[in-house]
Subunit: 405 residues, 2 copies
Amino acid sequence: MSSNYLICTGCQKEYPLDRIFPRCDNCFEPLEVRFVSTKKFITDKALFSRNILEHYAHFYPFSEIEQKLSLKEGFTPLIKADKLSQLLEIDNIYLKNETVNPTWSFKDRGTYVGVQHALSLGCDTIGTLSSGNMAVSVAAYGARAGLKTIILVSADIPSEKIGPILIYHPILIKVSGDYGQIYYDSLKIGRELGIYFLSSDVPFRVEGSKSIAFEICEQLDYKVPDYILIPTSSGGNGRGIIKGFLEFYEKGLITKLPQFICIQLAGCAPIYQAWINKEDSVSTIKNPVAIDNAIANPFPPSGKALLRLLRKFRGIVTTVSDEEALSGQLMLAREGIFAQPAASVSIAALQKLKAEGVINKESRCVAIITGAGIKYTGILEKHNFNVAASTLEELKDIIISKLAD
Amino acid sequence: MSSNYLICTGCQKEYPLDRIFPRCDNCFEPLEVRFVSTKKFITDKALFSRNILEHYAHFYPFSEIEQKLSLKEGFTPLIKADKLSQLLEIDNIYLKNETVNPTWSFKDRGTYVGVQHALSLGCDTIGTLSSGNMAVSVAAYGARAGLKTIILVSADIPSEKIGPILIYHPILIKVSGDYGQIYYDSLKIGRELGIYFLSSDVPFRVEGSKSIAFEICEQLDYKVPDYILIPTSSGGNGRGIIKGFLEFYEKGLITKLPQFICIQLAGCAPIYQAWINKEDSVSTIKNPVAIDNAIANPFPPSGKALLRLLRKFRGIVTTVSDEEALSGQLMLAREGIFAQPAASVSIAALQKLKAEGVINKESRCVAIITGAGIKYTGILEKHNFNVAASTLEELKDIIISKLAD
């Protein structure tokens, strides 16, 4: 037997390493791997030291930070999507996978930075108005920091969305009334009571989103991509990402800016409506109909601010339908990433803009995959999935026939 | 105004940086952060270069690996849990947070390593038998690798668990019959048809779990903890973690081994039963009743192999009840981590073993948080959560009264 082999954990019988069957032919106990290594090992703490406020300290106005508040948000993978490239006929597509953050969405970056700011001001209570990713994120970081945490949700929140917020022990209040009005009232109450409401447009939440841009630059060796695709709801994340690229540009770390593409769902696209109508202000969408609330803010608080940035830096605003978002979700899964529909709009937009000739084959594109599909599994019923059934006796034949399909 | 300030994105009015209210008093547009930095920025690609098979290449028998198959699994945070330390009166508790893996459980490590092995053997089809974390992980990596992927699930799988597997486009077959028999038959069919079944006991899946041990050592600067708490179902992850510590020990990177604590749910504890009865073999549990299938394998394929390791290296096997697991879930959320009950058993066990005097106050403990709570939100109904309701008019008063509670 060579020095590389499998060995039975029971009877010690040896097998070649290129065996598929995982158990011993003799005693049927599981096998394990043995080999003589020829490679070096060098320990590297940098692989684990990730903290956006430390690594990018130059770009944040904190004299000191509280390490313990971090759940190691950010430093998310940039995944090359070769199958999507082939499918969409675009040479280079990268996926910035925000679904592996501590609460499985990009919100954790801004929440972490916002909580640092809240603590530096001596606040003992934070809050937010959200029924989705932001509520979960603020509840988690509020718990981590030991702060009182007020989560306001709309009265019609689906019950399955409440548990993943309440698990972190916040004060959760269902508020009935106009959602836009609740938003503004919460800020007013926050000012009166000294509660730091970490909403989507809070300056330090926007600062958190900057780190997405910084990381993309580092991950691409400062070769700035042609396009950044940003699923856009309230507009805060887009503001942060653009601000991040601008700050790297101003510091001379990059020599050009990418083109920013903001994507909304057609059923709730207030920023897009203002964009095509060349309006400076954003009108509230009445009766929005959209598949995923995470990208369906009918009165985006950062809408006007985002429009100003997009006009200044030759941005693009587009929409995709619910069906296109679902199709984008399936396409992303081909790369091994299960995104929520709100995040999948970026892939749907890539397909649409390529077909329209806006994006060409040679483009280098980065799609921000803002949040995890596992958060909204009810939506999966909209896909027509195919499930086979088998008894044990017919299993082999059914596998053979399925493989032949 | 100082050089550090907030500025209105609309009218450019400036405000001090220590302001909570996020919008302009003048035009009500959102503010943003401006400041002059005094800190240095040094780019560091190592922060993003994580690949377990590259970094730990010395410990893996691959002459070359396919980078593209990786979704950047592993290199998960080790989170210091000071609130838990205080609560449980144990000086040092660390949480190895596997919930931020690409499919939100530890399974991705072994799946990645297993797929590398499958491809090195020229296999074009992989498979697994699972209704939970492993099914999702194998489906994701199979899609990523462009392999045909067969996922066998038991016929009584809850419908909400099917979508998160099917999103990755595998061949999914519901198989009726005895689950233990399906497991053995799937291996047999795999051998006959050349399908690489990546089940829990596959040697290269176990190799993937080794990296959890390697990372803990690096993250703790090679100061080996006293205890590693491992939620235990099929036994494969425990085998891998122990093997990892042994390999670092044999290489001289660490000077002692931790004590390994395997935890099962009381309603399905075949390894624990064999342990306390001093038996070498593990008997199947008839009619298991456990809150989370992810830790309720009634016929653990690696049970005997794990028992041998635990006996050799002075391990501990214990159980906790469903209620204790749920209590552990709530405790973990206080640290900002939402774990599935299967993962929360490690905290419940810490509490139990501390009360029993097995673990003392001065101990350094690492709990493996194996998978994300967001995967099984139905279980949250078992918690008695408190939700307040409010109209917009009474919101301020209700917030004041809740904060006073």
